[in-house]
């Protein structure tokens, strides 16, 4: 059962913590592409649902995670933006035990919070378009419980809402935006550390997002709302987890997702939704494959 939990948790933790992305129209699957004006705030509230399964083993594991991620961004200057992100989630696992019984385990509460900053190091503005490059860095705090229990005992570590460890991450994001479309590309790496005998594998990812203005086709005077069609692409590589210093062969691997979606953008708020669909999954040993990830959210400027 412990091994089952380890494999499940690797997948679920990634959804809840996400990756940092900054305030333009911005990508849906990462948050670092949001620069915020000096003295301004942006609040992003995103609801998510993730399901994984397709277990080749007799355990026939199925997992689900759903919840919300609240992200608050503050523009210290026009170049420096600080972010805080707090997930709240429900995570559940169903599996068949060697005796043939089907067991369900779940937990709910706050997950690990993230604090990060992005700084725009290059900016090239012209009428109707901009190009920006911004490195970012942050830390994931052990705010989620990592010792939750149910009637069967302590939940497997990865099924816990928190990792228990202080984990650093960083990367760089580039944005090219015109009145017709926006492209965001991000490369990120997270170094996970050990806590209480368990360590999640490090995570490297490459994320891209295209937003294309579907409506209005022709721009008139003023500031009309824009309806964008969006397409995200995410390449995620995870190292194997370590349990008591030994690698867990059933964890880690590479996944590629495509995320079609829609985004309606006004001056004060953004309404958005996307489905992340796995198009390639090369997971180690008996890792669980993602089936679908859905995200809907709203963003407000103030």
């Amino acid at each position: 059962m412990r091994r089952v939990g380890v494999m499940v948790g690797t997948v679920l933790l990634a959804v809840i913590t996400g990756t940092p992305s900054a305030v333009r129209a911005g990508a849906q699957t990462f948050n670092t592409a949001l620069p915020v004006g000096e003295g301004n705030f942006v609040l992003r509230e995103q609801l998510f649902y993730r399901r994984a399964g397709d277990d080749p083993t007799a355990a026939d594991r199925d997992t689900e995670a759903w919840g919300s991620v609240s992200i608050l961004g503050y523009g210290v200057t026009s170049d420096l933006t600080l972010f805080g992100a707090l997930p709240i989630a429900v995570k559940s696992l169903e599996a068949t035990t060697p005796s043939g019984a089907r067991v369900a385990r779940d937990t709910r509460g706050i997950g690990d919070a993230r604090l990060f900053a992005r700084y725009t190091v290059f900016q090239d503005d012209a009428p109707g378009r901009t190009f920006r490059i911004a490195p970012f860095a942050g830390v994931e705090l052990p705010t989620g419980r990592d010792d939750d229990r149910d009637r069967l005992g302590r939940l497997p570590r990865p099924l816990q809402l928190g990792s228990g460890s202080w984990d650093g991450f960083g990367g760089v994001v580039a944005t090219w935006q015109t009145l017709a479309y926006e492209i965001d590309v991000q490369a990120a790496y997270q170094v996970n550390t050990e806590a209480n005998g368990f360590e999640f594998g490090d995570v490297a990812r490459l994320d891209g997002s295209l937003q294309y203005r579907l409506w209005p086709r022709q721009l008139g005077p003023g500031v009309p709302g824009f309806l964008y069609g969006t397409l995200g692409a995410n390449l995620v590589y995870r190292q194997e987890n370590e349990v008591a210093g030994a690698s867990d062969p059933d964890s880690g691997g590479t996944q590629v997702f495509l995320a079609p979606g829609l985004q309606y953008v006004t001056k004060r708020w953004v309404l958005e939704g996307a489905l992340e669909l796995p198009v390639a999954q090369d997971l180690n040993a008996y890792g669980l494959e993602d089936e679908v990830i859905a995200r809907v959210g709203i963003r407000v400027n103030f």
């Binding site: 004006g37 026009s78 012209a126 901009t130 721009l219 500031v223 824009f226 001056k267």
Partner: protein, 102 residues
């Protein structure tokens, strides 16, 4: 009938005062480079509204133009406008008095 005439008589001076105020209000046209989505416009308008003497800010995203209307007798200088646009995260590409106000 008399009531209608009285109302009309009262309205005329008010209209004259309003028209005079509008005629005296100076407007500026700011060319804002980097402005490429509706969500970006909020920050620029907020920064410009915080400048003393500004009474209205209207963004036209297609042209990257922001029209700033000043209160009676107030003026806006280019360096103040540049600073506000920069604080919002954009670049001032042009600044001139708006012809419609003349």
């Amino acid at each position: 009938m008399m009531r209608a005439l009285r109302a009309a008589a009262l309205s005329v001076p008010l209209l004259i005062v309003a028209a005079t105020a509008l005629a005296d209000a100076t407007q500026y046209r700011l060319q804002v480079n980097g402005l490429a989505c509706p969500f970006c416009a909020y920050g620029i308008e907020k920064e410009l509204h915080e400048i003393a003497g500004v009474s209205a800010v209207d963004t036209h995203i297609k042209d990257g133009a922001v029209i700033v209307t000043m209160q009676d007798g107030a003026t806006l200088d280019e360096s103040t406008a540049r600073k506000a646009v920069k604080a919002a995260g954009f670049t001032l590409g042009g600044f001139r008095e708006h012809e419609d106000a003349e």
